[in-house]
């Protein structure tokens, strides 16, 4: 299997647009592909397709439950907890777990010598599977509101990919923080989508530097080309990053996308160029076997 992550430093550059169009084009040309929406904070790739929901997986973490009859109020669990999520007042024998702060690391149950701490699952989010002809084709991660980190939900979604699938397209979360790294670290190649504006350039630069630091091969797609200036092109040339494609800005494209429709569905030339782009990527990087 070959995994391609579609990412962008900045939000709204058309990352999801590129991801769903690549996926659609691959499927249309008869290739075996799966789309994984790793943008767990705001997943919306699945909305472009009318696939059947065939399964959901609850993503949970284990949070402590304290048996007050066994607790001796030694406060060792509190000391072990690095997230301040155990509240204890030994003189008045009060102990509470503040679940909102818990990261589920399990340190408190290791700390307890009196068997007073057991654990129960607490919801972090869900992974939804959408299928077509009994084959999972879209995997969506969605985290619960107010949860600290999207990472466990993203991990769970990536785990759902059937290793027998030909190509996996990962729609990565925006930014360059943990959730982004988590997603791109599992990919064989990263497509960075940017736009030709100063904001786009600044974010692209940050993404490129991050990817270099973890040795990930990447290429750039400039979306809404013609809207801003040439600074992004100059940067890409200077840094010798492959420029995979330029998608010119058009109101028509924006309109099609805004309605939740896929451009590649009505524009065979565009679909064809996406497929050959992917095939070239696989040709060049196919042997960089993914290791974790």
């Amino acid at each position: 299997m070959f995994r391609i992550a579609v990412a962008s430093g900045k939000g709204g550059t058309g990352k999801t647009f590129v991801a769903v169009n690549i996926f659609q084009s691959l499927i249309k040309s008869g290739l075996d592909a799966v789309l994984v929406d790793c943008d767990a904070e705001a997943p919306n790739a699945a909305a472009f397709f009318t696939k059947k929901l065939t399964g959901t997986i609850a993503v949970t973490q284990l949070v402590p439950v304290i048996d007050e009859s066994k607790c001796v109020y030694c406060a060792k669990c509190h000391e072990y907890c690095n997230y301040n999520s155990i509240f204890i007042l030994p003189p008045v024998k009060i102990i509470k777990v503040i679940v909102d702060l818990c990261h589920g690391c399990g340190a408190c149950s290791v700390a307890c010598n009196y068997g007073a701490i057991s654990e129960k699952p607490d919801s972090l989010g869900t992974v939804s599977l959408f299928s077509e002809k009994d084959r999972v084709s879209i995997i969506e991660s969605r985290m619960d509101i107010g949860v600290m980190s999207a990472v466990p939900v993203i991990k769970a979604a990536i785990k759902q990919i059937d290793p027998g699938t030909g190509i996996a397209i990962l729609d990565s979360p925006p930014g360059t923080s943990c959730p982004f790294i988590e997603t791109v670290a599992t990919a064989d190649f990263v497509i960075l989508v940017t736009e030709p504006t100063p904001f786009g350039l600044s974010d692209l630069r940050q993404s490129v530097e991050t990817l270099r630091s973890i040795d990930k091969p990447s290429g750039v797609i400039i979306n809404r080309a013609g809207l801003g200036n040439n600074a992004v092109r100059d940067y890409v040339d200077r840094q010798e990053i492959p420029l995979l494609m330029e998608i010119p800005f058009s109101k028509k494209t924006a309109e099609i996308y805004s309605e939740g429709k896929i451009l590649a569905g009505t524009d065979p030339a565009f679909a064809g160029s996406l497929v050959s782009m992917v095939q070239n990527i696989i040709k060049d990087h196919g042997n960089s076997s993914y290791k974790r």
């Binding site: 301040n84 509240f87 003189p91 008045v92 702060l101």
Partner: protein
């Protein structure tokens, strides 16, 4: 009765700290003995959960009232369950000594 006040410094002339969990310093004032104790807040720079950890500090001193500029949701429910009264003063320039004077006034 003991009262906790969040302070921006360790003198009676310091101003009230508007943050509870991340205040500079806690003042523990005893209305019976008139004693004042200053405790630097170790949770000031805590990554997460500064509020609950600070509740633990003041509650373990046996205070019955706590005075600050604002309390977070988690802090409120903890104080509620501990039956400690919360008092909110929305005047950042109020000095600790002025608050103590108010508490002493009959």
């Amino acid at each position: 009765m003991k009262v906790a006040i969040t302070s921006t410094g360790n003198t009676p002339e310091s101003e009230l700290d508007q943050r509870f969990g991340r205040c500079e310093c806690f003042v523990i004032y005893d209305t019976e003995t008139n004693s004042i104790e200053f405790i630097p807040n170790p949770n000031k720079d805590a990554l997460e959960g500064a509020g609950p950890a600070s509740v633990q500090i003041v509650a373990s001193r046996g205070v019955e009232k706590v005075i600050s500029g604002e309390f977070g949701i988690k802090v409120k429910s903890l104080f509620d369950s501990l039956k400690i009264q919360m008092i909110v003063i929305k005047e950042p320039e109020k000095k600790i000594i002025e608050i103590i004077d108010m508490l002493n006034k009959q």
